[in-house]
Symmetry: none
Subunit: 181 residues, 2 copies
DNA sequence: CGAGGCTGCGACATCATGCCTCAGGCCGTA
DNA sequence: TACGGCCTGAGGCATGATGTCGCAGCCTCG
């Protein structure tokens, strides 16, 4: 039978190579694009069963690609992967049509499970109630910042003003990675 | 014209009362349910335009209610609200049909904005358009700390552990600001 | 072209935080 | 009653985070 075709949109060379190799060894045929333009250029030319999108492509975001991809390949399963995960972008991604959303770092197995798997790692019904730990202050702050940032279409200055913090401070916070938990 | 009808599913008495009152003052007609059963019992009996679901209802989750609600009221806009937000439940909620997902603490304006949200570019009825300023990070932090502190019956050490911050730091934060804005 | 807004970033004084430590208080229990 | 375990307030210090200012580059609009 034919190999499963997977589209990888990722701007980080190193990570792309690693994940590509890992997936190829598991029998997937990988096509790699590095930005929106390259991805859009592929649309007519090849078929895909799955797609993995890095949320942050240099300056751009891959969210906009989701509707286009879904339009061309209605059955395409899309996984959004990001090192700067937040609830705000997760909600946005899913609403746009992504099938799953995962935070880096994630190993190949997690990625595959999220991509293929129905539910995520755990059966949600009761695990949701069991995980009753409040967010850490840092995590809460990160989520809030991301949410407001999104409402301001990524405008850092405007976001800083609303949050009543100095622009320089916001800038520095955004450069760091979100706290794991 | 008729009032907008809103279904509030929330098991926390205090929070339910506060939010109910705030929304009623803004012209909404609120129906309050405390668990899955009560909610399901309402399905045939009333119409709703919006719904706010607390994710954690005692031992159960409100996620399962979403499909039922959507089925009975296809046009219903659903907002999932939770004090124990996580990316996993956010993704799950949206996939099940929720229209938005918000982490507590959130003030009434933020909740309303998230609920009505979608209808962008809608020239909001003059008055309502006023200020839906998000909370500053400091106030957000303060509220969150207070809430967790309450849950731990004022135990500072336990609170610090949950919040993953140093006890000394929490101690200092508590001594300082009553936080105006 | 020029005004005005946004962005990234260096520098530096100042404030907040993490971390260790001590002393005292409160409770069960051996 | 003395002990261990847990909580609290507080001092001190090294280090990290933040507020402030400034500069240069980039857009966009008139």
């Amino acid at each position: 039978m034919d190999k499963t075709r997977l589209l990888l949109v990722e701007d980080d060379e190193v990570f792309a190579r690693v994940i590509s190799r890992a997936l190829q060894q598991r029998g997937y045929e990988i096509t790699h694009a590095q930005d929106q333009e390259q991805t859009l250029g592929l649309l007519g030319k090849a078929d895909f069963d799955y797609a993995i999108l890095d949320l942050n492509l240099g300056g751009e975001t891959s969210l906009q690609l989701i509707p286009s991809l879904k339009q061309h390949y209605p059955a395409l399963k899309i996984l959004v992967l990001t090192g700067y995960a937040s609830i705000a972008t997760a909600v946005e991604a899913i609403k746009l049509g992504a099938d799953n959303y995962l935070a880096k770092p994630a190993d190949t197995d997690e990625i595959l499970a999220s991509l293929l798997g129905q539910s995520s790692s755990q059966p949600l019904p009761d695990s949701a109630a069991a995980k009753m730990e409040p967010m850490s202050v840092r995590r809460l702050e990160w989520e809030h910042i991301q949410k407001v940032l999104m409402e301001n279409d990524g405008n850092i200055s405007a976001t800083a003003r609303q949050l009543k913090m100095h622009r320089r401070t916001l800038q520095r916070k955004l450069q760091k990675r979100p706290v794991a938990e």
